[in-house]
Symmetry: C2
Subunit: 410 residues, 2 copies
């Protein structure tokens, strides 16, 4: 709650600003802001026992850690507290001792981004805003459209024209005003920023709005609690803009700083081989450079990550591992997750699991390690790539003879 918020601190110049609900970048130097908390005060109010007694089964379960006055007065979707599975079959398939899947595709609009959008809607209400806008590769857009529709906010949403049909259909059903931009995500982002300045809309652009990461971090809080507050060695997830991995790291650090977990996991940052500016920078020990967006995993096809600084810092600070995966490895991971866990992720959603598999194979992580892999979005958002991954069924007439012939083949 806001009483625990010290302010919004610039990660570049270090200045601490009042955490106004519509604050974006540093008024002094333009750097990204980070919401800072009074951890000692939070620590006094939380414990494993108080958490266990809570009835709230959503991201708002963790109010002490959230920069909001409350949950807002408007109707809202039930976001978060997504399923968490011990994945023994998949662990066996990967030759890994202990593996867990956090299925964030089971959210109201079917991705982890619901956490950020639910936060944006609450902050927009606090700011007295009337319209919310964002640009997105797809999931931030559809989650904003859904969460804003529930709360009665109109939205203006900018997507690159390559966004999958599933995500676009969500936007249209939720009644967003959608501008499909015939260019890259970078160009889409830039146009949205111009429009937001021109029209004065509430800005739900990731990185630019420091509150979104605070929503995303709730996935880390849930993982820790679902593990019984005993952290695994690693947490793996796919990385595009960098906001999610930065948020996940913030969540674990918040818990560590308040005594709720006694060690921090190392992050496994998974990017696509065709678009891995952040992983490349870590590997080469250089500044990050823009890349082309060559991957079918649209949600992480981000050549110019908006939150590079926080993401790189998170990976380095955690002693993290970076792995790039090919599109073929991503599709194989989709099949593997489906067949061993009954979990269906979109390409970017399963890329984290593809990265875990590869990290084991390359010896980047030990087979005795314990790992959580976050599935960030639902496979139903991108049916064509699922069919590319798993094929189409055999079709027959309603005839037992034809069936017997097919059974011999299967």
């Amino acid at each position: 709650m806001m009483k625990h918020v010290l302010g919004a601190q610039c990660i570049r110049c270090g200045k601490l600003w009042e955490a106004l609900p519509d604050i974006t970048t540093c008024p002094h130097c333009g750097g990204l802001l980070d919401i800072r908390y009074d951890y000692a005060a939070i620590a006094k109010e939380v414990s494993h026992e108080t958490m266990a007694a809570r009835q709230e089964q959503s991201m708002w379960r963790y109010m002490e850690y959230l920069p909001v006055l409350g949950k807002g007065s408007r109707p809202r979707l039930r976001v978060g507290w997504s399923p968490f599975y011990r994945a023994e079959g998949l662990a066996n398939a990967l030759g890994l001792r202990e593996l867990y899947i956090k299925d964030d595709g089971v959210n109201p609009t079917a991705s982890l981004k619901d956490r950020a959008s639910a936060m944006a809607v609450v902050k927009a209400e606090e700011a007295g805003a009337e319209i919310i806008a964002c640009s997105s590769t797809g999931n931030a857009a559809s989650s904003l459209a859904g969460n804003a529709a529930a709360a009665g906010f109109p939205t203006y949403i900018f997507v690159p024209s390559r966004a999958p049909k599933g995500k676009v259909s969500q936007l249209m059903i939720f009644g967003a005003h959608v501008i499909s931009v015939k260019s890259s995500y970078e160009d889409t982002f830039r146009l949205s920023q111009q429009a937001i300045e021109t029209y004065g809309w509430y800005n739900r652009n990731a990185a630019i709005n420091p509150y979104l990461m605070e929503g995303k971090k709730t996935v880390a809080l849930e993982i820790a609690e679902q593990l019984g507050w005993k952290m695994t060695d690693y947490v793996a997830l796919s990385v595009g803009d960098g906001c999610t991995i930065a948020g996940v790291w913030k969540g674990f650090k918040d818990l560590y700083a308040t005594g709720m977990i006694d060690r921090l996991p190392r992050l496994i940052s998974v990017q696509a081989e065709g678009c891995c500016p952040l992983n490349r920078a870590i590997r080469e020990g250089t500044d990050w450079q823009p890349m082309e967006e060559n991957t079918l995993a649209d949600s992480i096809a981000v050549g110019v990550p908006r939150n590079a600084e926080k993401a790189l810092n998170a990976i380095l600070e955690s002693g993290g591992v970076v792995v790039d995966v090919s599109d073929e490895e991503i599709l194989a991971a989709a099949r593997l997750l489906g067949r061993t866990c009954g979990v269906f992720g979109e390409p970017a959603g399963v890329a984290g699991t593809a990265g875990v598999k590869k990290a084991v194979e390359l010896g980047l992580i030990d087979r005795n390690a314990s790992v959580v892999s976050i599935v960030t979005g639902n496979g139903l958002k991108d049916t064509p790539n699922a069919i590319k991954a798993a094929g189409e069924p055999v079709a027959i007439d309603p005839d037992m003879g034809q069936l017997l012939a097919v059974m011999d083949e299967l």
Copy 2:
């Protein structure tokens, strides 16, 4: 739990059989079976207070009412305890006093059918089965594929070739052996029954397997609890095979018989104008007759409902209302739900809401009534129909001039 189960009773000849885990139809007359409980014994073990104290947030929260030895020893998906919303915006749009949405599209494989499939997997384990099979218009299939994959059961699944891509992609990702039948659902069903007999697979065909309805009834148990055990006047849902509405009614009756609710709601049975054999029978006071399957709502395009008897009985016993909706009304309801609630349902999923709208307009239900509308499946399962409902976005170059021109139009 099984200690509360009296047996499986034939709804035709009345004979009571031992509730073996693989029992299907009546061994005496071939009628459908209904699981019977010792309500007095259940009533002694449950109360509003004991329920409120439970941590389990899934369909297994209600073990006293379920015909199982336990939750099984295999891994399982987290099914049930789906979101429940007071829908004030939608109520206003319909001119209705009090309306709630139960969003069962937020389930692991994105439909209410997960409840039946989770049950089937537990009963298959109890029966010592090795393979599970079913036929389905889509959702029963994809839910069986997912729940069985998590539990490590191979599946053989029969779908009519018209099943939407989204659902088929789920089957393939989950590794089911899929037989796509180039004919009606009726023919598909018949072929699956032949194959199940030939190969001795565990039978997860709705109606035939009496346990599935017991899984489906958990949606009613949740609705009652999420309403604070104060039932609304009506509960609306779309009807195809008839198993879901029969299950919902069974759930409410179980609660009523054990003193957990003090009145029963009336059911609103919604079918498509192009395929409404059950509603037509009620309206005309005659036996039901097969119909063509002329609707884009694939999940309820069932010309020969397999559970007609239980469904008709449920509607009549509840003093129910029957409403048929056109495909246009279904698509309009998809937009309306999305825009007012942030809930995205597939065509059959929103048909219930379309029916509520029409029932209000026709004066079949009073504007002062309170209604729960169940959304039975996620809109992401059928993207093409969502786009048909809501259109496609405007596409522009990344250029502020073009944007300004578009803004004038929006």
